[in-house]
Symmetry: C2
Subunit: 243 residues, 2 copies
């Protein structure tokens, strides 16, 4: 069992939707923050990454939600660098309420991007060894997202200044925000996701025009594509339940 790292947060009202439930993009950001803070605590933060001219990017999230916390709730976020291979690092995140009930669990795949070439860079030992995570050979591909047959809904977005993160591209948490947003207020206010898979294929930069395409494949299941200039930049699958 490798190191885990836990932080406690109080959910601010402004990270919640109009009904007081934590917004999904904020849940993902809160989780990712914990991994950044774990890196800092182990002395493998931004400064070391700069020496290699790299920064962390995310290639996949698989988030399972049993219950979303509400405004002012105190929650604990735990993360663990589970395993890694030459190019990919596999990380787990848990969200617990103050009584230690599990509210959500996410498995994410991280990689290092060369900041100049924008290409994936092999993971240096100096960056990964302090996490004491398991070195593996295989590449975990995660669940396959069904192919899209019929587009039922499309919505266009222009990248906003506020979407751009320190990698100078659209933050990973914006993609599920765009995916969900195309389903509209009435649906989102009456449903809540139980599972969200997002696979990232290509970064999106400022100035790009983005299309969020949706197909409902089952009663409570939607598949999603985020496209820029007809290029598939991310795909997703979301399972829903009634609020």
């Amino acid at each position: 069992m490798t190191n885990t790292y836990t932080e406690t947060y109080t959910i601010p009202y402004y990270d919640c939707d109009s009904e007081g439930l934590l917004k999904i993009p904020m849940l993902i950001k809160m989780m990712i923050r914990t991994s950044g803070n774990q890196s800092d605590s182990l002395g493998v933060g931004a400064e070391l990454l700069k020496e290699f001219n790299v920064n962390w990017i995310i290639t996949q999230h698989d988030l399972k939600i049993s219950e979303l916390p509400r405004t002012s709730d105190v929650v604990m976020v735990t993360t663990q660098a589970e395993s890694y291979n030459k190019y990919f690092c596999y990380r787990r995140f848990w969200l617990h309420d103050s009584n230690k009930n599990e509210l959500a669990f996410m498995e994410s795949t991280f990689a290092l991007m060369d900041v100049t070439t924008r290409k994936v860079h092999a993971v240096p030992d100096e960056v990964i060894l302090p996490f004491q995570s398991e070195k593996i050979k295989r590449i975990k591909r995660g669940e396959k997202i069904p192919e899209m047959n019929e587009t039922t809904i499309k919505r266009s977005f222009d990248v906003s200044f506020w979407d751009i993160d320190d990698n100078h591209h659209v933050n990973n948490a914006t993609y599920p925000a765009w995916m969900m947003d195309s389903l509209g207020y009435d649906f989102l206010i009456s449903h809540v996701p139980t599972r969200i898979i997002v696979k990232f294929n290509k970064e999106i930069r400022y100035g790009e025009a983005v299309e969020s395409v949706v197909e409902e494949i089952k009663e409570q299941e939607t598949i999603h594509q985020i496209k820029s200039n007809e290029t598939l930049c991310a795909e997703g699958l979301i399972q829903w339940k009634k609020r």
Copy 2:
């Protein structure tokens, strides 16, 4: 001197822009959160407001910034309910760094909206007296925003699910986000606001198409309009300096 109320926060990386400075909409949200928490601490929070079928809305912000905090900085937000008249409550906010240097100061005007009729409701004594703020007769109108002559830039936005707050309308902090966003990445990454005035005229609901219109009136000064269906919903003035 009426009661003040202070809270300490650590700035999360995800509330900062690509260069690590706190995003303006997040600064405003952090400040407003403090006033909500002060209300809760005095027993005049959401439950009491529900008895009157009202909720707080904001009609004006005047924010002066000397320096923006960065990722992981520890800051203190202080608020004070300064004075009020029949319909409006005037509130002050301060942002300090951990050495008690003042980083920002905001004066905001609050009113109560009847949640059913969406009209302004007179401020009940039960809601305002616990703040021990001064009762005044006059209405503070704040600085006048120059009229717009020439539109240099226009950008369109669709209201997002994520913009809607517990008043079921676009959150006040989204308006300066739209105003600033229409100036584009290159400008925003090389400039930082020193003063932001926003005056709110009409609420915006989900499904509306919004236009953010800008005119540069001086070297480092822009004026802004947020319109929906040709109706002026908010106007703003922003003063800038080079980063």
